[in-house]
């Protein structure tokens, strides 16, 4: 049997206040197995009665070695790892990885593929925010919110299954374009979603936005100032709720985002309620982008025809020796990338999701590093929960929208 190590307060001396040493305040573990920490996150709380004096996040329980694993695979095969990173934003992860690879090897992506990428990542953003609003409601005891949000998310997951054959781990976006073109039912399914979803958002707002209990628990709670947010590298809706207008889709457009007309919701209050409002508003803005992209979906190929990087279509394999050779070579050896390092970032539902790739001339990346938004966003938690009640911590943590797969990698 494993030895259970006894921990003493001495080990935590540097993290907690003086009062904890004398026993005046209490140390309490929240997590790693706790329904409100949204994954396996442990928070070591120093409490004065119900009031939080200190909160120390302890991460790493979900460490899966994604980055190292990717370094052991060819560029093409490594992509499956990034689906498993932030499991609420799989399409966005694929997009950020593929953009990075495309930048590294200088690969072009057809227009149609870009537009479909935008449609799917925006749908995925909505799905991610749906999970967020559902669990946020659940944490604040609004149970029906959870059920409604998951009902709508199902429609999006169905669209993803339609395209890629998987509801979550899609691997649909590939370096150089997409896996295959979207099926014929795709457009109708997305249009159907565009039609019903705005009404559903109204329903959520009916339930939550002005609900007095909800307001009581959110207004003025977990205030994140602009300065703290910027100094901790907070990005995404949490940053925009603190009055900073920073969205990579506007600031550093990729995949043709500059063609679409949408607003970036910004609030200045910086509290939990502002973060809620920003995300609700993002539902509507994302839907706008989806609709625009769908309306001008160009026809044409969905993958680059550069045979050095993209496997040939199936119809060529049986008739052309050259294609067969390319096919075998790409699936066994992969394609070499130049000796260079690049960073490319996209706006994920949680903030700036960046990937750093370093090629060493071979078919496998020498180094992969993910700059994940949840990791940076979590770092402000100790700053903003001080002085609040334990019950509020649950709401604050939920409002930051962390995904542990994204933090621990």
């Amino acid at each position: 049997m494993a030895q259970i190590e006894e921990v003493s307060i001495e080990q935590y001396k540097h993290l907690v206040s003086e009062r904890a040493l004398t026993g005046e305040t209490m140390l309490l573990n929240m997590g790693p197995q706790h329904p409100s920490t949204h994954g396996v996150l442990r928070l070591l709380l120093e409490l004065d009665g119900e009031v939080i004096v200190n909160a120390i996040p302890d991460i790493g329980f979900l460490h899966t070695g994604v980055e190292k694993n990717m370094e052991a695979k060819t560029y093409q095969k490594a992509e499956v790892m990034c689906d498993r990173l932030d499991y609420m934003n799989t399409v966005g992860n694929n997009l950020s990885y593929c953009l990075a690879v495309e930048k590294l090897v200088d690969l072009d992506v057809p227009e149609r593929a870009q537009a479909i990428r935008v449609v799917l990542t925006e749908l995925q953003r909505i799905a991610s925010h749906l999970v967020w609003v559902g669990t946020f409601g659940l944490d604040l005891a609004a149970m029906s919110m959870f059920l409604y949000a998951f009902r709508e998310r199902e429609l999006i997951l169905d669209i993803l299954e339609l395209c890629s054959g998987q509801r979550m781990m899609t691997t649909y976006i590939r370096p150089g374009g997409l896996w295959r073109d979207v099926p014929v039912e795709f457009e109708a399914a997305v249009r159907n979603f565009i039609k019903i979803f705005p009404k559903r958002v109204d329903e959520y707002e009916n339930l939550l936005t002005k609900n007095p209990i909800f307001l009581d628990r959110l207004l003025g709670i977990g205030k994140l100032t602009k300065e703290t947010a910027l100094s901790h590298g907070v990005t995404g809706p949490s940053l925009r709720a603190s009055g900073v207008n920073w969205d990579l889709r506007k600031a550093r457009p990729y995949s043709g985002y500059e063609q679409y007309d949408f607003n970036v919701p910004v609030r200045t209050e910086g509290d939990t309620y502002a973060r809620y409002l920003v995300r609700i508003q993002e539902f509507r803005e994302s839907l706008k982008i989806v609709e625009q992209a769908l309306n001008k979906l160009p026809m044409g190929p969905v993958r680059s025809d550069n045979r050095k990087f993209v496997p040939p279509p199936r119809s060529e394999i049986g008739v052309s020796m050259e294609s067969l050779i390319h096919h075998f070579k790409l699936w066994t050896e992969g394609f070499p990338a130049p000796k260079a390092s690049i960073y490319s970032a996209v706006e994920s539902p949680r903030g700036e999701l960046g990937v750093y790739l370093e090629g060493d001339g071979g078919p496998k990346p020498y180094r992969v590093h993910w700059r994940t938004p949840s990791f940076d966003n979590l770092s402000v938690i100790p700053k903003i929960v001080k002085g609040h009640l334990v019950a509020d911590l649950v709401g604050i943590l939920a409002s930051i929208d962390i995904v542990l797969g994204d933090i621990d990698r």
Binding site: V80, G318, H327
Partner: protein, 172 residues
């Protein structure tokens, strides 16, 4: 804000949930009632056969090379016209997929040059031990179209020489 407003808001929210009492449920009573999967669904693998019953798999191991999870093991042996399994020179004498390792990414299907391995629509995979999660060729291979088309079988000499067939681009 008037004193009444919070009450109005509460009633509004309650009304919202109340309305759904009379709506059709969106849930499925699994396992009695199953949701149909989409045509592209990536579930348990199937090893396909040609219409004449010969196996499509030529034992080239490309699926095993493409698999990011190293879930596939292939061992190839020689075909003869006396004992023919598949067109061409070789066939897979051992073909195993470890369903616990597999992540259902579909790369094997993409890589296979003969459309032999295909991800089917069965998602109800359960095992009681690790050993039984390794599916051998017998479990993966689809049944023969008619009883006389079993493999290996004796065929006319010199007909089945071509291992990679002509194929169409997949549409769904």
């Amino acid at each position: 804000m008037s004193v009444l407003e919070p009450v109005v808001e509460l009633v509004r929210g309650l009304g919202q949930t109340f309305r759904y009492l009379f709506d059709r449920p969106v849930t499925y009573q699994y396992p009695e009632q199953k949701r149909e999967v989409r045509p592209r669904f990536r579930g348990r693998h199937v090893l396909k056969r040609y219409d004449n019953g010969l196996e499509k798999c030529i034992g080239c191991s490309l699926c095993a090379a493409a698999c990011p999870a190293d879930a596939i093991f292939v061992e190839a042996s020689e075909n003869t016209d006396e004992k023919r399994f598949s067109p061409g020179e070789r066939y897979a004498s051992t073909y195993e997929i470890n369903m616990l390792r597999c992540i259902y990414c579909g790369f094997c299907e993409d890589a296979c040059p003969t459309e032999a391995i295909v991800l089917g629509d069965n998602y109800e995979l359960s095992f009681t031990d690790r050993r039984s999660a390794i599916y051998p060729k017998e479990m993966l291979l689809e049944p023969v179209p008619t009883v006389d088309m079993t493999t290996p079988r004796k065929v006319e000499t010199g007909v089945y020489k071509r291992s990679v067939p002509e194929m169409k681009d997949p549409t769904d």
